[in-house]
């Protein structure tokens, strides 16, 4: 039944599953008994206060001191009672005595102790509170997005790595999400990769692609390795892994939705796959590129237009455009000219048979002017009687065919870029604009006047109306189809949805974004009037209309006022941000905050001062005025900035911390954080040349790590991520605090100077790697008492085999190979997303990443991306609780369309978190285009006044 190789993989898989399923690391450690056996009491002697209480069970306990205004002035303790209870809790004891020295978090004595109260809470109880920055109308993909109108509204596909299919009503109001599949329909989506996760034994579908961010497999953002059981990049599409998506076309009829790019994906309007398997046949046709991008390599061309037959059986596809590209830089491809495959394809939606060439041919020489030939077939439409309308732009005509493929009529029409048929009146809407092709004379392109022509009917195709078409600008040189329209036949008056693609210039300047999103025009009195602009809606909700680059929404909380700041990728290939969105979590109001310079990262201290960093400096600002608050020990700098591009912004700094780094590289820089008492931890990525021989090391020690900073090298030391700690004056406290760390996705520091770091290496448990090697590992270490030893032969001084630690490695990735963390207090794996750091190719970029959050109680909130949850761990590494489960945007509380139960937190792809200690947890879920605010309450709370 299985080959020997397959049997071996199955055995490995079983061993891995067995090992992980029984691993205690992922188990919730608290006992679900949240009652006091003895209510809290306090005894006070001068500044010394002792808090005593007893719990009925070994649950998690949190002890804080609050002032008269309810503000937490001292975070005393939080953790799970029992054998591994963190200090200052007594181990294995339900009865606890917690001392307090009368000081606040910053080490100052509290002068009015009598006005304070001690709060003891049992059982963290996170609950969905609200949705912030909910932007279902945001536009992310660079192609003009596809829509399909039906009686209930208009279905819109949008996607860049993350995919969305949403239903809007005829006026553009959001109705519901079809994909990501609703939580209550997930089991009815057939053909997903279900897996029982080691975290809690729950079955969840594993996502596809290099970014592991989609359940669809129709596009170039997908891919799945059955042996490994994880999403991978099977398309080897380089930047496609970053820019790719599931669909270049969307069609719907009845209850069926067709979504396709390279393959067909079958969906249904109810959020299932309609009883069919998700995966359909290939829909692309090959071409051989002529530019220097993939020159000579057969490349699939996806369809750009599609339509169902009235009975929903047949799906017609055309608009196969391909731009022959020339690389202008590593990131930019300039398209020189376009070819259109001169045919129309057809497939039976349900039977799974191969896509067939229905009309014309799918090879360039098949082009022609015959009745059954095409030159530039840009779009296809079907009327209620099943007749096919194909716009042939270059041939200046619309051709009509019977369902059998028989040519019925040719309607002369100047430059028909897209044709639609009104499903009630049978009127033919012909939209014309310049369609890029082999020859694109600049003057002609500029002077072309887009217009809409309405023809009376198939039988009498005479023009009854011609009016200008407000496409909003010149066609860009992107994917061949600069604009797309959808005719909404069910709206009154008739509405037309228009969107444009983003071209190269638009991406660089964002100017094109103004017209890039959906605009709904109403056809009345012989002209088109703007009824709704999606960009305006997005701007109202989020203060901006542009999509967060790389879906990166790094979250930060200002602990002084609890407001949420969202840093979205702007300059420097989406890594730095010059503006942030400040969200008031109480009102949900979003405002744009202009930063002094484009920062690569930031953090807030307990007093609300903001620390912004470039690759090389950290500067401090008052977050109300954004005036610099210079460090005592710093350096003046004339122009702080992260990006040198036109998207950057720069600022002069009076006194900024100069980081020990040279040749920092473009990679994300692993994070920064500040403890309540002002100790700032920053990780830097130092470019270090890999030296292959010991001789090099000994003879050229200055080469190791570059001239700017040379850490101590030890056998097995890897480089890239170095961790340093400064005090609030800017004086370095701990240099190279976690030697050998390599890359990380976030770092935290608590008030005892313990360092928490999410290494990009995946967890190895009892010798077995976590099944998803793209995940990361959170660990707690003590500065200077930790060392990460790599088994990689690329280490500066490779570890001799005889010196390898005599135990299984703790972590593994492509930088460390096997990695042993000497001195770590605990680990927690299966987190985040490591990108290329995991060692898998697929885009060559680790721009996608993740971050964890550390609160002032030493609790870590870490995203379990593949598990659709956030793990909450105490400072001893005990898993307290897990927040969230699979859910789409319609899961938004108990009174929402798809309630989930439990904490009601629905997540699809949630890599970034932030917390306002003991108040709120914020989870950025670009998979659902929203940020979820979670209220952090408790099952039982008692307060004792110190009066």
């Amino acid at each position: 039944m299985f080959s020997a190789n397959e049997q071996r993989w199955i055995l490995v898989w079983m061993l891995v599953s067995f090992s992980l399923l029984f691993s205690s690391e992922f188990k919730v450690k608290r006992e679900a008994v949240f009652e006091f056996a003895e209510k809290p009491k306090v005894t006070r002697e001068g500044d010394r206060v002792e808090i005593s209480f007893a719990s009925k069970g070994f649950c998690d306990v949190t002890v804080v001191v609050e002032d008269a205004d309810g503000k937490i002035i001292r975070h005393l303790a939080s953790g799970v009672l029992g054998g591994n209870a963190p200090a200052p809790f007594q181990k294995n004891s339900l009865k606890q005595n917690i001392p307090w020295d009368g000081k606040d978090d910053q080490g100052h004595y509290v002068e009015k102790l009598e006005s304070c109260k001690v709060r003891v809470s049992l059982g963290l109880d996170p609950k969905f509170e609200k949705v912030l920055l909910w932007t279902p109308r945001i536009r992310s993909q660079s192609r003009a997005n596809s829509r399909a109108a039906g009686p209930e509204g208009v279905y819109v596909y949008d996607g860049r790595v993350l995919d969305h299919v949403r239903l809007f009503d005829h006026g553009g109001e959001y109705v519901r999400t079809v994909y990501p599949f609703p939580a209550d329909r997930l089991r009815q989506a057939e053909g997903l990769h279900w897996r029982r996760f080691p975290q809690d034994g729950r079955e969840i579908p594993v996502k596809e692609g290099f970014h592991q961010a989609t359940l669809l497999n129709s596009g170039n953002n997908s891919g799945f390795n059955d042996k490994l059981g994880i999403g991978v990049d099977v398309h080897n599409n380089y930047h496609g892994a970053v820019w790719g998506n599931a669909a270049t076309m969307l069609a719907m009829r009845g209850s069926r939705i067709a979504l396709a790019r390279l393959k067909l994906n079958r969906l249904a309007v109810d959020g299932t796959t309609g009883g069919l398997a998700l995966t359909g046949p290939d829909v692309s046709f090959p071409i051989v590129p002529e530019g220097n991008v993939r020159r000579g390599k057969v490349t699939p061309v996806p369809p750009g237009s599609s339509a169902f037959s009235p009975d929903g059986r047949w799906l017609y596809l055309t608009g196969y455009a391909f731009g022959h590209g020339q690389t202008a830089s590593r990131d930019i491809v300039l398209v020189r000219y376009y070819d259109w495959l001169p045919g129309v394809a057809r497939l039976d939606f349900a039977d799974g048979k191969e896509t067939e060439v229905f009309l014309g041919g799918m090879k360039l020489p098949d082009a022609g002017n015959g009745n059954e030939q095409f030159q530039t077939p840009t779009s296809v439409a079907v009327d209620p009687k099943g007749r096919l309308y194909v716009s042939d732009w270059k041939a200046n005509r619309v051709k009509v065919f019977a369902e059998t493929g028989k040519h019925l009529k040719t309607i002369p029409s100047p430059s028909p870029a897209q044709v639609c048929v009104h499903q009630k009146t049978g009127r033919i809407f012909v939209f014309s604009w310049w369609v890029p092709n082999r020859v694109n004379p600049r003057e002609k392109v500029r002077n072309f006047e887009p217009k809409l022509t309405i023809l009376k009917s198939f039988e009498d195709p005479k023009p009854i109306l011609t009016c200008p078409l407000p496409v909003g600008g010149l066609p860009s040189r992107g994917y061949g189809m600069p604009f797309k329209v959808e005719l909404d036949s069910w709206s009154e008056p008739t509405r037309i949805w228009i969107s444009a693609e983003w071209g190269r210039l638009d991406i660089l300047t964002r100017k094109g974004a103004r017209y890039g999103n959906c605009r709904i025009y109403a056809l009345a009195d012989g002209k088109l009037t703007l009824a709704r602009d999606f960009n305006n809606d997005v701007r109202r909700a989020a203060g901006r209309s542009r999509y967060p680059e790389y879906s990166r929404q790094r979250l930060f909380v200002n602990p002084a006022d609890g407001s949420l700041y969202v840093g979205e990728g702007q300059a420097m290939v989406g890594k730095s941000f010059k503006d942030m969105i400040r969200v008031d979590p109480d009102t949900g109001k979003a405002t744009i905050v202009n930063l002094p310079f484009d920062a690569e990262d930031m953090c807030f201290d307990i007093n609300g001062l903001a620390y912004l960093r470039t690759f090389y400096h950290v500067a401090r600002y008052d977050s109300k005025t954004w005036r610099e608050v210079p460090f005592d020990y710093g350096e003046e700098h004339p122009s702080l900035r992260t990006s040198g591009s036109r998207d950057g912004r720069q600022a002069k700094a009076l006194s900024a911390i100069r980081l020990p780094v040279k040749d920092a590289g473009l990679h994300h820089h692993s994070g920064m954080n500040i403890s309540p008492r002002g100790h700032l931890v920053v990780t830097v990525n130092n470019y270090g040349r890999t030296l292959s021989t010991r001789k090099d090391i000994y003879e050229k020690p200055q080469v190791v790590g570059g001239a700017a900073y040379t850490p101590r090298i030890f056998p097995g030391r890897a480089r890239w991520g170095e961790v340093h700690v400064w005090d609030q004056h800017g004086s370095m406290l701990y240099e190279d605090a976690v030697p050998g760390l390599a890359k990380a996705d976030g770092v935290g520091i608590d008030n005892d100077d313990n360092i928490y770091v999410m290494s990009t290496a995946s967890r190895v448990l009892d010798g077995t790697r976590y099944f998803n090697d793209m995940t990361e590992t959170l660990m707690k270490v003590r500065q200077k008492k930790v060392r990460v030893v790599s088994g990689s032969k690329k280490a500066y001084v490779p570890l001799a085999d005889e010196n390898r630690p005599d135990r299984e490695p703790d972590v593994r990735n492509n930088q460390l190979s096997p990695g042993w963390v000497e001195g770590a207090e605990w680990f927690y794996g299966g987190l985040g997303f490591a990108g290329k750091s995991a060692g898998r190719s697929g885009g060559g970029c680790d721009c996608y990443n993740a971050r964890f959050a550390l609160d002032y109680l030493g609790r870590s909130f870490a995203p379990e991306l593949d598990h659709c949850s956030v793990a909450v761990l105490d400072t001893a590494g005990n898993l307290i609780v897990r927040v969230g489960r699979y859910g789409n945007a319609d899961s938004a509380g108990s009174d929402s369309a798809v309630p989930l139960g439990g904490d009601e937190v629905g997540l699809f792809y949630a890599p970034y978190v932030a917390t306002h200690t003991d108040r709120r947890l914020f989870i950025a879920d670009p998979g659902n285009a929203r940020i979820v605010s979670v209220k952090l309450g408790y099952h039982a709370t008692e307060e004792v006044s110190l009066e």
Partner: protein, 388 residues
């Protein structure tokens, strides 16, 4: 010659002022001497302060009506033993070239100067006393490291710049050059050292590590430079009053309303170690009635009273701050000085290691041991940096 005379006069004057404190614990006070002191005190009290020179800050106050008993009370056997161990450690740590080296500051003139001052606080002078030879060798090292620019700094200078070591070297030379007739070049060295300092006063009025007029100053270096300039002025060297006034203005800018001082005028975080530096910067220049002094003094008093030994010990640069706080609290009278000293001794006792050294967070042991030793020996009154 004139300078030597002046120096001797100053020492005499200092000795007069500090006669109240120059009491050994084991020495029994003589009733007859007390009576005569009382009579003189009454007489001087009626006369009020006198101004022997043109400088209004250079005044002679009436002697106190009652002799301070602080030395008797503070110089306990434990304190003496702590200090003895510290001095022995310092003496043993001296390098062959006469210098002292710290972990961060090898062969450093500033560290050497502080070690010399610690021995001077014991009562030794160059070539005189138990540590006379060590002082002499140390001062010789300092003089060997005078650069053509006048800056006193050797190869082991602070990586940020040599102003600290220059300032401490100047202090050591100022407090000893009258006792070193065999090194007549010292006067010239001091004079050129002063000029180097004045030339590098920054536009904001203060000083920083580098001998440069560019950039922003810091409070700690500025207070040290002002201290040196004032000591030089008292020793008869010419120092521009304008430079001092600008320096004082900078110190005022760094003050917080709660009595703490910021390290930089644009900073936000008060540095506990800077309380003493602020006070001595102001007092040294005759601003004994400066409105900032009472709040700054009270802040130090609060800090040492309220915070535990462990709290204080954990502070960064504790010994450094303790040294300046000792100068400030001594200046403020016994009511502040005595409880402060007792608490400081407790902290230093917990910090002292088995060989007598006291370290900082960077594992430096020499400068911190020297500073601690000067503090522990303050009740003796031998080193005229402690003034009232």
């Amino acid at each position: 010659m004139r300078n030597r005379t002046l120096s001797s006069l100053i020492l005499l004057f200092g000795a007069l002022l500090s006669s109240e404190v120059a009491v050994f614990a084991e020495e029994k006070a003589k009733p007859a001497a007390e009576d005569s002191d009382k009579l003189l005190a009454e007489k001087e009290s009626k006369r009020g302060p006198t101004f022997p020179g043109d400088d209004p800050a250079f005044l002679v106050l009436p002697r106190p009506a009652q002799r301070s008993r602080q030395a008797l009370e503070l110089l306990t056997p434990e304190v003496r033993q702590m200090n003895e161990r510290a001095l022995v450690f310092l003496a043993r740590a001296q390098d062959a070239d006469g210098s002292w080296s710290d972990t961060q500051f090898p062969s450093n003139t500033g560290v050497t100067a502080l070690a010399c001052l610690a021995f001077m606080a014991e009562g030794s002078r160059p070539r005189i006393g138990k540590f006379g030879k060590s002082i002499d060798l140390g001062l010789e090292f300092i003089l060997k490291n005078v650069q053509t620019s006048g800056v006193i700094a050797g190869k082991g200078s602070n990586k940020y710049g040599p102003m600290y070591e220059h300032a401490y070297s100047m202090l050591a030379l100022l407090y000893s050059f009258g006792d070193m007739p065999w090194r007549p070049q010292t006067r010239d060295v001091i004079s050129r050292g002063i000029q180097a300092m004045l030339k590098s006063q920054r536009l904001d009025g203060g000083w920083r590590y580098q001998f440069s007029r560019e950039g922003h100053s810091d409070m700690s270096v500025t207070a040290n430079v002002l201290w040196v300039l004032r000591t030089a002025k008292k020793s008869g060297f010419t120092v521009s009053q304008e430079a001092i006034d600008r320096g004082i203005k900078f110190v005022e800018q760094c003050a917080n309303p709660d009595g703490s001082f910021r390290y930089r005028y644009f900073g936000i975080h008060a540095s506990p170690s800077l309380g003493g530096t602020g006070i001595i910067a102001l007092c040294n220049h005759g601003r004994i009635d400066h409105p900032l002094i009472p709040t700054a003094r009270d802040r130090i008093e609060y800090d040492y009273r309220r915070y535990t030994v462990n709290d204080l010990k954990e502070r960064r640069y504790f010994v450094f701050g303790c040294f300046y706080a000792s100068l400030a609290t001594y200046m403020s009278g016994d009511a502040y000085w005595m409880p402060w000293f007792k608490k400081a001794v407790k902290v230093l006792a917990t910090m002292q290691r088995k060989d007598g050294e006291i370290g900082d967070q960077h594992d430096n042991t020499i400068y911190s041991t020297a500073m601690a030793s000067i503090v522990l020996q303050a009740p003796k009154g031998y080193l005229p940096i402690y003034e009232r």
